[in-house]
C-alpha cells in the first residue's frame, strides 16, 4: 500500500464522551464489522474495560474507507483516557499522525482531555476537534467550541459535528480524516524500523506484538532484531486487526498491525522498543519513550502465604501486557512475603489489582498506597523510600521531601468555593484560576501527591456532584514536616499499616484510621485493642469488644437453605483477609489509613 493512502489516527476523549461508540460506528459504516456481529464497544476487549467504561490498553484496528473512488487504509489506535495512563497514551500517539479530539457537546471539555490534547500537540500530531452527541437536545456546540479554543488553543471553528450513537456525520468525519491528517512519511526502501506500541500475551500464540512500521517492509519469515532487548525472533505471522486478527503476510511503511513469533519469554518484548531486520543495515532506535514514572507504591501480599510463587508468576504475566508497573519482592513482619509494586497512579493500581484477581484468580491483601519520599540523612546523602516502614527514626535524618503535584481542576463555576475548601484541607497552595466560558472554571493548585492519594479524588467528586474533573502532573519535591503514624493491634505494631502523615494532621488521621478499622474488623471471641501511635506516644485507642453470642435460634428442614445462605452471606468478603497474631484483618482495614468515607468530626 502506498503510504499516501494510509492514515494513522487516534481518538482523545474523556470517559463517556463516546469514544468507543464512535469507533464502533466507524467499523460499522466501513463494513469492517457486520451489524449483527456488533457487540457494544468492540474495542474495549477486557471485561474490566467494558465495566468501567474506560480504555486501559491501547489497541488497534484497520478500517478501509473509500473516498473519491480511492480506497484508504485507516488505522485507528485506541488510547486510554485516564491521567494514570499517560505513558500508554504517548506510545499510541507516537504511532499516529493525527488525533481526533472528541468532546461531548452537552458536557464540555474535561481536564484529562486537555492534558492528552497537549500531549498530541507536543507530539506534532494534527488535531481535529470533533463534537459528539449532537443529537442530544441540550447539546451546546458553540459554547464547547469556545471552551476548546480557550483551554487547548486550537481553532475549533469548523469542528466536525457528529452523533456517534446515530451515525450522523460519521462518513463525513472519515472523509475529513483522509483530507486533513497527513499520510505517514516512511520510506519503502529504507532499512526496516518498526515501533512496538503495545503487546499482549496469548496462551497459544505467545506474545502478540502491536507494531507500527516506520520505514521499510516487514515480511513473514524475516528474522527480526529487537534493539532494546537485543533479541532475535522470526516473523511467523504478520497481520492486521480488522478488528479480528487477519493474516497479511507483510506490512509496509506507515502500516499498523501485529507480529507473532511464539515468544514466551516475557522479558524479551519491551514496549517502546524498535524492531529491525537481523543482520540488516544498522538503524537508529526510534526516539525514546519516556520511561514510566511510578508515582504510587503499594505492597501486595497473597492471602494464602503458599500463593507467593503464583503471585510472582501472575505479576510477570501481567507485566507483559502492562509494562508500566514494577514489582520487587519484600518481606513484612506482619504479612510475610509479598511484592512492592509501583504504579502510574491510583486507578492504575486498582486495575492491576483487579486484573490479578480476575485473570489469575489470586486473592491478595494490598497495603494503602504511598508516594516516594526523599530522605536527606545526617551525612547529607539522600535516599528514596517507597514504603512508610522504611522511614528511619527522626534522629537519623535531616529532612524529608515529598512529591508535589500541579493540579488542574475543571468544574462548573458554582462549585469553586467547594473545590477551594477541599484544596485547603489537603495542604493545597493556590496558583491561579481561569474562566473557560461563563459557566466553567479551571482552578490550578499545588497539592502534595500524598494528599491526592489520601482522598482528594473522592472529595472532589462529592463536592462537585461528580462534575469536577482533574488532571495533575508532578511538579517536584518539597520539604515537609512529616511523621510516621504507627498502628498497633493488641499491642503489636503492624508494619503494613504504618503511614507517613503531616505532623499537623497526624492526630486527626490516626484517630480516623483506627475508627475505620474498628468498623472493618469483625468481632472475635476476644477483645481487640486498636491503637495509633506517633513515636512512642499513643494518640488514639479503640476497642473491639469480644463476640459473646452468635447463634441462630431456629433451624429446621425448609429453613436450612435459608440459614445456609445467611451464613454464607456473612462470610462473604472474608476471602481477602489476613490473620495477624490471632486477629483476622480484612483488606478494607489495611486501607483504613487512607481518607474517604470517615464520618466528619
Amino acid at each position: 500500500m502506498d503510504t499516501k493512502h494510509i492514515r494513522n489516527f487516534c481518538i482523545i476523549a474523556h470517559i463517556d464522551h463516546g469514544k468507543s461508540t464512535l469507533a464502533d460506528r466507524m467499523l460499522e459504516v466501513t463494513g469492517a464489522v457486520d451489524k449483527r456481529d456488533m457487540r457494544a464497544q468492540l474495542l474495549d476487549s477486557m471485561d474490566l474495560e467494558r465495566e468501567r467504561g474506560i480504555t486501559i490498553k491501547a489497541s488497534a484496528v484497520t478500517i478501509w474507507h473509500k473516498k473519491d473512488g480511492v480506497r484508504y487504509e485507516l488505522n485507528l489506535i485506541d488510547t486510554p483516557g485516564h491521567v494514570d495512563f499517560n505513558y500508554e497514551v504517548q506510545k499510541a500517539l507516537q504511532a499516529c499522525e493525527g488525533a481526533l479530539l472528541l468532546v461531548d457537546a452537552s458536557q464540555g471539555v474535561e481536564a484529562q482531555t486537555v492534558a492528552n490534547a497537549y500531549l498530541a500537540v507536543e507530539a506534532d500530531l494534527t488535531v481535529l476537534p470533533v463534537l459528539n452527541k449532537l443529537d442530544l437536545p441540550h447539546a451546546r456546540p458553540e459554547v464547547v467550541q469556545e471552551e476548546i479554543e480557550n483551554s487547548i488553543g486550537i481553532d475549533a471553528a469548523d469542528a466536525a459535528r457528529v452523533s456517534a450513537k446515530s451515525g450522523l456525520g460519521v462518513n463525513e468525519l472519515l472523509d475529513r480524516i483522509v483530507d486533513r491528517i497527513p499520510a505517514p512519511k516512511g520510506e519503502p526502501d529504507a532499512p526496516l524500523r518498526c515501533l512496538i506500541f503495545d503487546a499482549v500475551y496469548n496462551e497459544y500464540r505467545g506474545i502478540i506484538v502491536y507494531l507500527r512500521v516506520v520505514d521499510g517492509t516487514i515480511k513473514e519469515r524475516d528474522l527480526i532484531h529487537m534493539l532494546g532487548t537485543d533479541t532475535v525472533y522470526e516473523a511467523i505471522e504478520i497481520g492486521r486487526f480488522t478488528p479480528t486478527m487477519k493474516r497479511a503476510g507483510e506490512l509496509g511503511p506507515g502500516e499498523v498491525g501485529y507480529f507473532i513469533s511464539n515468544i514466551k519469554k516475557l522479558g524479551d518484548v519491551r514496549i517502546g522498543d524498535t524492531m529491525t531486520r537481523h543482520k540488516g543495515p544498522k538503524v537508529a532506535m526510534l526516539p525514546g519513550y519516556r520511561p514510566p514514572m511510578h508515582m504510587v507504591y503499594a505492597d501486595f501480599f497473597p492471602t494464602n502465604t503458599g500463593d507467593f510463587e503464583s503471585l510472582r508468576e501472575a505479576l510477570e504475566t501481567l507485566s507483559l501486557s502492562d509494562s508500566s508497573f514494577s514489582f520487587e519482592a519484600v518481606t513484612s513482619e506482619a504479612l510475610g512475603f509479598g511484592f512492592r509494586c509501583g504504579f502510574l497512579g491510583l486507578l492504575h493500581m486498582e486495575i492491576v489489582q483487579e486484573r490479578l484477581e480476575r485473570e489469575h484468580d489470586i486473592d491478595m491483601i494490598q497495603t494503602a498506597p504511598t508516594v516516594t519520599y526523599k530522605i536527606v540523612l545526617k551525612d547529607g546523602s539522600e535516599v528514596e523510600i517507597h514504603s512508610p516502614g522504611q522511614l528511619p527514626s527522626p534522629d537519623k535524618y535531616e529532612q524529608i521531601l515529598e512529591p508535589s503535584a500541579r493540579v488542574t481542576v475543571m468544574t462548573p463555576a458554582e462549585y469553586i468555593g467547594n473545590v477551594m475548601t477541599i484544596a485547603n484541607d489537603h495542604r493545597g497552595t493556590y496558583v491561579r484560576q481561569d474562566h473557560l466560558s461563563p459557566t466553567r472554571v479551571q482552578l490550578v493548585y499545588d497539592i502534595p501527591l500524598a494528599e491526592l492519594i489520601y482522598d482528594f479524588f473522592d472529595k472532589l467528586k462529592s463536592s462537585t456532584r461528580g462534575y469536577g474533573t482533574l488532571n495533575y502532573e508532578i511538579s517536584g519535591y518539597a520539604e515537609s514536616e512529616l511523621v510516621k503514624l504507627r498502628i498497633l493491634v493488641n499491642g503489636k505494631e503492624v508494619d503494613a499499616l504504618t503511614s507517613i502523615v503531616h505532623k499537623d494532621q497526624a492526630e486527626k488521621r490516626g484517630r480516623s484510621a483506627i475508627k475505620k478499622m474498628r468498623k472493618e474488623i469483625a468481632r472475635h471471641q476476644f477483645e481487640i485493642a486498636l491503637q495509633a501511635a506517633i513515636g512512642a506516644r499513643i494518640i488514639a485507642r479503640e476497642t473491639i469488644s469480644a463476640l459473646r453470642k452468635d447463634v441462630t435460634a431456629k433451624c429446621y428442614g425448609g429453613d436450612i437453605t435459608r440459614k445456609r445462605k445467611l451464613l454464607e452471606k456473612q462470610k462473604e468478603g472474608k476471602r481477602r483477609m489476613r490473620q495477624i497474631g490471632n486477629v483476622d484483618i480484612p483488606q478494607k482495614a489495611f486501607l483504613a489509613v487512607l481518607g474517604g468515607d470517615e464520618e466528619e468530626g
Binding site: 463476640l547 437453605t561 445456609r564
Partner: protein
Amino acid sequence: MPRAPEAPPPTLPRGRAPAGTPLYVHLPFCAAKCHYCDFFSVAAEGHDRRPTVAALLAEAERWAPREPRTVFFGGGTPSLLESAELRALFDGLERVTGFRGAACEVTVECNPESLDEAKAATLLELGATRLSIGFQALDDAALKLFGRVHDAAQAFEAYRAARRAGAREINIDLIYAWPGQDLAAWRADLDRVLDLGPDHISAYNLTFEEDTAFRRWLEDGALSKPDEELELAFFEATRSRLAERGYGAYEVSNFALSGLHARHNVNYWQNGPYLGLGPSAVSKIGTARGGNVKSVGDYVRRIREQGDARVWEEAPDALARLRETWWLGLRLAEGLSAAEARARAGFDLPEDPLQPIAERLADDGLLERRGVRFALSPRGLPLADWVARKFLEG
C-alpha cells in the same frame, strides 16, 4: 480446594420417595400472621381450604413415601383446620402412605385459639402422637406485640385440654429475649410452664427475620434488640433452669425429658432425607433438595396441572454437603464424628478437608472432644454460627 469429580444428578428423583422417608406436611393457614414469623402462611379467612387439602393428597400420591418413619404437620397452623377437614387429610394420607401403623412419631403444630379438647381428641384419633403448642409468651402485652390472637390463659387452657383428651407427648414453643423482656420475669414464666409438666420445650431467642414486621420495626427504630450480654444471660438462664428440672438441651433451642426429643426434627440436624408436601415445603432426597412454590393458588394449580409444585432444586457437591452436615450436626448436643459427617454427606474422597477444622476448633476450646465425636463446648454453644462459618470458609 479440591472439588469432587461427580456426574451431575441435579434433580430430585421423579417418583415416590423411598419407603420410610420422614414426611413433612405444610398447612399454610393461620388466623393471623405473627409479626416475627417468616414461615410461609396465609390468612385463613376467606380461603377455601378444600382445594389445598385435595392438592396435598394428589401430591402425596405422586411423591410421598410409604410408611414414613416420622410425620410432621407444620405451618401455618394445622390445628386451625375443622375436624372434618383434618379427617379427610389424615385418612387420605393413611390410604396413600399407611403412616398410622408405621410412624413412631406424628407431630401436629397447634395454636391455643384453635385447640380445644374435641380438636385434640380428633387429632389423636386420626393418628397424632405428639402435639406442639405455640405458647410463645406468657405475657399478654408481649403476645399482642407478637401479633398472636390468643392470651396466656388460653394457652394454659389449650394445654390442659390436650392432656384431658389423652395427649401423651406435648411440646410447648416459647420465645425469649423480646424487646423489653425482664430476665427475672422470664425465669418465673419458665417455672410456670415447667409446672405444667410438658414433655418437650422449644425455647427460641427472638430473631428478626427478613420480610417480617419485626425486622421492619427494628430497622425503623420502633423496636430495639436487647444487647448481646442480655441475650446471652437469657440463653444461659434458660438452659440452666431447664436443666435443673430435668430437661436436657439436645439441640441449641430444644429441650426434652429423657428420650422424648423430636425424632422428626433430629433427622433435619443429622442432614437426613425428608419429603415435604404443601406450598413452600422443602424435600431432601439423596443428595438433592427442592422446594415448592410459596403461593397457595399457584401450588394448587401446579399440582392439578403437572402433579408437581417444585420451583427450585439444588444438588450441592460433595464438599458442600460435608460442610452442611458439620454445621447442622453440631447444633445437636450429641455432636458428630468426622466419619459420621462423611457418611451422612455421602463424601467419599480420600482426604477430609474439614476434619482439621474440627480439630482446630477443639484446640481453641470451641468444640469438645467426646471420644471420636466433636460437640460444641459450653463456650462454643452461644457461638454456634461463628463455628458454622469456620466450616463454610475452611
